[in-house]
Amino acid sequence: MRQVKTAECNGPAEAFDVARVREDFPILGESVHGKPLVYLDNAATAQKPRSVIERVAGYYETENSNIHRGVHRLSELATRAYEDARGAVRRFLNAAQDREIVFVRGATEAINLVARCYGGVNLEAGDEVVISAMEHHSNIVPWQLICQEKGAVLRVIPVDDRGDVVMEAYHRLLGPRTRIVALPHVSNALGTVNPIKEMIADAHRAGIPVLIDGAQGAPHAAVDVQDLDCDFYAFSSHKLYGPTGVGVLYGKAGLLEAMPPYQGGGDMILTVSFEATEYNALPYKFEAGTPNIAGVIGLGAAVEYLTGLGIEAVAAHEDRVLAYAVERLTCVPGLRLIGTPARRASLVSFIFGDVHAHDIGTILDQEGIAVRTGHHCAMPVMDRFGVPATVRASFACYNTEAEVDVLAEGLERVRRLFDGV
């Protein structure tokens, strides 16, 4: 994916040695139904490199302890590892300060946090929240909940037949009652890369802050939150080669400072009495209770792994495989791509004749191919394109053109079984 202003597609193609990258991922040696695993469900969750697996195990074997609490040696080690991970994430996003990085459970929780703590304070009856028609449910429902509570209105930017947001409609939706805009960096159902830098600037001209759901963006693009100038950026560790149960909310310090805490508990306070509680400084104000320490440390290792490969090199490699997939699948008779956006990253969604996506998924599974089938937690997108479900093949740094061929051959098998398609 080409994104932000970073040197794009730098480095020659040969520099990326996918065979060597594959060796970093133990699970890629597995077979499924006697066939080599072809893992094309990376948008659901990515596989983990050995360095992440070993880092998490190493933490439990040599450092396990609670953080920010003990004066003993292990607690010091664990605290340092946890805070080092925050630093790694800050550098990864090019955030200005460590305290702008809040660890949460995942993109879902990050968005809920902003909806509740920012929306909860800033939304009044008649105010508006703008999202797009290509959202994952996790960037719809939290806003619906807070809008219902406050009597605010959810406004939706339409998506055109290719799967791009309609920019004129977006501009019209930005009005005096708009309090926040929440957009996906990359659509998990269509693969659309949204022109978020431009859309953020548009909203800012009207004085409106923007949250970017980066669940599908951060794993595939160099993200520079200062260059984007986004107010919030959310992503999940597990889609970025890290452990499940951890995610990141980046927020501009000024905004986070002004927001009330999300949950109450230990670690998020300075002093507590029964009369009043003084909240801790950022980011701890938003990290109540014992966090997923091992997960955060694993995420730090994942970020380092990805940075080591070079996010631009990874993106360039993925773009090559993706371009090949689009070309190859377009040649499969009866196959229709759902979403043909101007800019695409990391995934293709399609239907095949009138064979239902689940049947395709089961047949491909017998070939060792893991794809996602269904509505991808984006039912409004399915409605928009008039399909109940799609098959989605999504790519990561370790996927190859040869795997795309296996997928295409698998589809021929579907055709044979279903008598022609």
Binding site: H356, A357, A389, R413
Partner: protein, 149 residues
């Protein structure tokens, strides 16, 4: 291909291509809707019940081959059966595909036995049972008359 043929038997592919008793049911007096929230499959089952017998049955909906074929074969197996027998078929069908209570191989269940292969595909059990759960809801929703066109 042998494994997959156990699942996608000719009978199933045929009922998926040409679902039987598909559409609204004139004179239906019981009806229920079912969805599988995981995959978005939707089905509606319409019944005409008289003297505790299923005298008319149809279904509508969208879904995968397993769910459409299961609904289609189900409707065929219900006609002129007593409501009690329909409930019993539900139990036996569920036992067969979900492999619960030790499972069963579908002996004596006629065409429904074609779905025995589903038990080897746990992710697909819900596809096969969606119509049946909806049927049971329709049977239980006594005298919930639906308007017919």
């Amino acid at each position: 291909m042998s494994d997959l043929r156990d699942l996608y038997q000719e009978l199933i592919l045929d009922h998926n291509r040409k679902p039987r008793n598909f559409g609204p049911l004139a004179g239906a007096n019981r009806s229920a809707r079912g969805v599988n929230p995981l995959c978005g499959d939707k089905v509606a089952v319409h019944l005409h019940v008289e003297d505790d017998r299923v005298t008319g049955v149809s279904f509508e909906g969208t879904g995968c081959a397993i769910s459409i074929a299961s609904a289609s074969v189900m409707t065929e197996s219900l006609k002129e059966q007593s409501c009690d027998h329909a409930r019993e078929l539900f139990e036996r069908f569920h036992q067969m595909v979900a492999n619960d209570d030790g499972g069963n191989d579908g002996a004596g269940m006629g065409k429904l036995a074609a779905f025995a292969g589903v038990r080897d595909y746990p992710a697909r059990v819900k596809c096969a049972t969606l119509a049946w759960h909806t049927l049971r809801a329709a049977l239980d929703g006594e005298d919930k008359a639906v308007s017919t066109e």
